[in-house]
């Protein structure tokens, strides 16, 4: 990866989630794009590659599992993290089988997601980027 800025994409139909994550991760120096409509997000993913995709599970129009599958087809290197208000063991394990990086139930602390993202990046990025 030549460009060292981490690119993050957030999809959640409740706008507060994207707003909040954008605020937090921009401050950490990442490039963040947020969407409330999953179909719109997919259009962007098709045109541009992201390092990390954080998506809600249950949404109108397209669910998080579909996003996961689509992202893996388009950009296998991207890490997908699923967040949801309806944590279900079944869905979680299915998501893992499909290669989700991690799974986090709402409500969660910003710190928890940060740690997951740092973990996702430590594999993908060179040493010089670890200081985020």
């Amino acid at each position: 990866m030549s460009d060292q800025t981490i690119k993050l994409l957030v999809i959640d139909d409740e706008p507060i989630v994207g707003k909040r994550l954008k605020q937090a991760f921009m401050k950490m120096g990442m490039e963040v794009e947020t969407f409330t409509d999953p179909r719109e997000a997919m259009n962007t993913i098709k045109q541009k590659s992201f390092d990390i995709v954080v998506t809600d599970l249950k949404m109108e129009g397209m669910d998080g599992m579909t996003i996961l599958e689509e992202v893996q087809k388009l950009n296998p290197k991207a890490k997908v993290i699923i967040i949801t208000g309806y944590a279900q063991v079944d869905t979680a394990s299915e998501a893992f089988r499909k290669g989700v990086f991690d799974f986090i139930p709402k409500p969660f602390r910003l710190e928890e997601l940060k740690n997951i993202i740092l973990r996702a990046m430590s594999g993908a990025l060179s040493e010089s980027n670890k200081n985020i």
Partner: protein, 862 residues
């Protein structure tokens, strides 16, 4: 019911006022614990909701609904549990519960703006009214009541009046259709046109609801009584969210120079209300609150200040949001010329900190100014030539304005846009204050993460976020409560532990950092209420900062920087990143306002009644307190207790005559025989009290000469002698591992101590009562006063009357409870016979001083 209880039932022994047989001590204690358990599950949910408001969590609507549902159930369980403990004595709490729950449902349904009074004087407003005052009026109320600034006298037609107007004029159906249409995702102003137009016209032609005109007339009469018939009014909009998170600047109408007649005020009122439906305002709403249809409007009717000069303050320079200057613009006459951009103005750049040095000024030629016209509205008048080139503010006025502006900015924790006026007496009035909106692009360019690297970090990744935010200022270390007295405006409060007493300075605190503490403490709740950025549990912070050192607290990434980090402060002012403006946060905040704030603070005050409960937290506090009171009563029924239980004498080197009743875990099971020694007491609160009583010198008789260490290893049985307090009757201690109810009768006075001391901080309490004495009432009262002063010094809430003193403390960690009980033990011992020596008021101070200094032997020296 055991046999003994059945017998008592038959013979009617030991009945309470209600005629019910009282519970046995063991059952009462069990039920007391059940009250604590129920209260805890409710309080945990409240804490959970509160934590989400800190900004440190990601949550959604579903979370709010689920948690509120759980909370309503949990609080009801607490009411049941108290009634189970108290023979159904608190039936009234069911209606209190219903009242509070209905209110919360109203908040959940976003209908709370329909409650309350239609008309209220600004002087009579308080927190509970904010929701019906609209944003702008709520800010004015805060500036008047919390910051004690001058604002123009006036009254408010609340959002309740708005809803009455809608209903009275048959506009409800149209309004509902309009709000539904606005919630559609692709809503446009064009699509709304027919509905919008009919609402606007309906309001402009509306008839006043019953009683509105006479309520307005009453308010006008009161103001005219002070300012005479000549006064003029400014009728200003105050929509629900106006000035709160979004400025709505210039979106709604303001009618100036209105004559003080009810019909004229009503006519102006209608024009302001109708502007809620103007195309301009709707476009703004669709942009800042997409998907939200509901918004009601209140209207403020304020006396027009006859201003000699007026203007606007931006507490930061929008061109340099990270800088240390504010901008003050000013002109002669009324300030409307400025906000409308119609007049030449003087511009001053003033430093943001005392002594508010004037940095630069540019004085314009002001040949005209706006003044009220005879027939209403404002008109331009020529400014006398000698004033045209004069600065419209004097240096001392600039300094006062700057000081007020900083007070307001620090209170709201965000840059402010303030309108003000100075009248002919030189009095400064604040006309409105709102958050200053600065686009994110105005901030420093480049990556914030990179910019931050050049600052020295004092703390990194330490502590927990109690309230998210960023604040910078000079450190003010608070060791004791008295350190709050000289708290400088805008300082960062640093302290060993947290305290709800910090509320006293929260309006002027940039941030709070504590070495210990949790995000669920009372202080944390208050920080969220006042939006004070706060980090707790920051290891060794006191050794890393010193008084007066300037620091920047980032209570989000949990970092503290040395110096003022301009880039972070600029980042903070960027409005589109303001999370507290989102729908979910606003709903959660409104719910918490009605759930978690605590009005019933001191159980010893008369206002501690079910009627005074305003929140669930109040109700839970009331329940806890009444449960404690029930337990206190239990210990008084000596005869019954001795019948129900086998009481074992406690063997101490001092003659206390205490009999122990163990409900479980209070006595070492290995202890044999008919007498229990100090070493066998495993009840932690009892042990703490006894350690205090046995502390060297406290029990001022020969017996006390035995050293403390000796006591534990070899307990001697000292006979009661004439010098020791003569106790009559039995002194009973009902104990468990973590509970104590102790009644101590010494001669003619009586101590009651009831304490719970567990690992759960909020369960813990201490209740102490002292009454009586052998001497005349004057001396006895002096002793009571002395005890009251000592108790207060140790953080008790105290009420005293004559020779009765009651002290309450609690919500403290176990270690603090133990420490405080030890002190109580010393007070009990020390003050035993002191009434005899209280022959003058000076003795009160003398003995208080001695006690606080640990000079217990003073009594022997008398």
């Amino acid at each position: 019911m055991n046999i003994l209880e059945s017998l008592k039932h038959i013979f009617g022994g030991g009945k309470t006022e209600g005629g019910e047989a009282p519970l046995s001590a063991a059952t009462a204690f069990e039920r007391f614990r059940e009250v604590l358990r129920c209260n805890n599950s409710a309080l945990e949910l409240i804490a959970d909701l509160g934590e989400k408001l800190s900004g440190d969590y990601i949550f959604d609507r579903q979370y709010i609904y689920n948690t509120m549902e759980g909370l309503e159930k949990a609080v009801l369980q607490s009411v049941h549990a108290l009634n189970a403990l108290c023979n159904n004595k608190y039936q009234i709490l069911y209606s209190t519960y219903d009242r509070l729950t209905t209110r919360l449902d109203t908040v959940m349904e976003n209908r709370e703006d329909r409650d309350g009074v239609p008309v209220i004087n600004i002087a009579d407003t308080s927190r509970s009214h904010y929701i019906i005052l609209g944003g702008k009026n709520a800010h004015l109320s805060q500036m008047l009541h919390e910051l004690r600034l001058k604002i123009p006298e006036g009254f408010i037609l609340t959002t309740r009046a708005y809803h009455d107007l809608i209903d009275h004029n048959g506009l409800r159906e149209a309004l509902n259709a309009f709000e539904t249409a606005m919630e559609a995702p692709e809503c446009t102003v064009e699509a709304l046109e027919p509905l919008r137009h009919s609402l606007e016209q309906g309001i402009l032609n509306a008839q006043p609801p019953d009683g509105l005109l006479s309520a307005i007339a009453d308010q006008l009469k009161a103001i005219k009584g002070i300012f005479g018939e000549d006064l003029r009014l400014a009728i200003r909009s105050s929509a629900q969210e106006e000035d709160m998170n979004f400025s709505f600047a210039g979106q709604f109408r303001t009618i100036l120079n209105v004559s003080p007649a009810p019909t004229a005020v009503f006519k102006a009122y209608l024009q302001v209300v109708a502007s809620l439906f103007s195309p301009k305002a709707l476009r703004y709403r669709l942009r800042v609150f997409p998907g939200e249809g509901h918004m009601s409007i209140a209207v403020g009717c304020y006396r027009m200040v006859e201003s000699s000069a007026s203007g606007v303050i931006y507490t930061v320079d929008p061109a340099d949001p990270a800088g240390d200057a504010m901008i003050i613009v000013s002109t002669w006459g009324q300030g409307e010329a400025i906000v409308e951009g119609r007049a030449p103005v003087d511009t001053f750049r003033v430093q943001k900190k005392p002594p508010y040095t004037l940095l630069t000024q540019s004085i314009a030629r002001k040949n005209t100014g706006l003044y009220p016209k005879e027939e209403g509205e404002l008109g331009e008048l020529d400014i006398p030539s000698e004033l045209q080139d004069q600065p419209s503010l004097t240096p001392s006025q600039l300094e006062r304005l700057a000081a007020y502006a900083m007070q307001i900015e620090i209170y709201y924790k965000r840059p402010q846009d303030i309108e003000w006026a100075i009248d002919h007496n030189g009095d400064i009035y604040i006309l409105q204050a709102r958050h200053l909106v600065i686009p994110a692009t105005a901030g420093p360019k480049g990556s914030l993460a990179d910019a931050l690297k050049k600052y020295e970090l004092i703390v990194s990744d330490s502590g927990s976020v109690a309230q998210q935010g960023i604040g910078a200022g000079h450190v003010h270390i608070v060791n004791t409560i008295s350190d709050l007295n000289e708290f400088p405006e805008g300082a960062v409060l640093v302290s060993k532990r947290d305290s709800s007493n910090f509320i006293r300075v929260m309006h002027k605190t940039a941030a709070i950092v504590t070495e210990i503490g949790t995000p669920v403490s009372h202080m944390a709740t208050l920080c969220r209420e006042f939006q004070v950025p706060c980090l707790v549990n920051v290891t060794d912070i006191l050794s890393k900062v010193s008084d007066g050192m300037e620091i920047t607290v980032d209570a989000e990434d949990r970092r503290i920087y040395k110096g003022r980090v301009a880039e972070l402060l600029a980042f903070k002012t960027a409005t589109d990143l303001n999370i507290s403006a989102t729908k979910e946060f606003r709903l959660l905040k409104r719910l918490l306002d009605n759930v978690s704030s605590l009005k019933l603070v001191d159980p010893l005050m008369d206002e501690f009644t079910p009627e005074a409960c305003e929140t669930y937290h109040d109700l839970l506090r009331f329940i806890h307190e009444k449960a404690v009171a029930q337990m206190v009563e239990m210990g008084k029924d000596e005869r019954r207790l001795l019948k129900d239980y086998r009481a074992v004498p406690l063997d101490l080197p001092i003659p206390t005559g205490i009999l122990l009743i163990d409900l479980g875990g209070g006595i070492d099971p290995k202890a044999a025989g008919d007498r229990i020694t100090f070493a066998s007491v495993t009840s932690e609160p009892l042990k703490a009290i006894l350690e205090g009583m046995l502390f060297p010198g406290v029990w001022h008789t020969r017996a006390a000469d035995v050293s403390f260490g000796d006591l534990i290893t070899s307990i001697v049985n000292v006979p009661t002698d004439a010098l020791a307090g003569q106790y009559s009757g039995h002194n009973i201690a009902i104990i468990s591992k973590d509970y104590l109810n102790l009644s101590l009768r010494f001669g003619y006075h009586f101590n009651i101590i009831d304490a719970y001391c567990s690992d759960m901080t909020r369960d813990n309490h201490i209740y102490f009562r002292f009454l009586g004495g052998a001497t005349d009432i004057t001396k006895r009262s002096r002793r009571a006063r002395m005890i009251a002063i000592i108790l207060e010094a140790f953080g008790f809430n105290v009420a005293s009357k004559g020779d009765i003193v009651t002290g309450r403390s609690g919500n403290m960690p176990k270690s603090e409870i133990i420490r405080t009980l030890n002190i109580l033990g010393r007070i009990v011992g020390f003050t035993r016979q002191l009434d005899v020596q209280m022959d003058s008021d000076a003795q009160v101070d003398r003995y208080v001083e001695a006690f606080l200094m640990g000079d217990y032997e003073i009594i022997g020296r008398h």
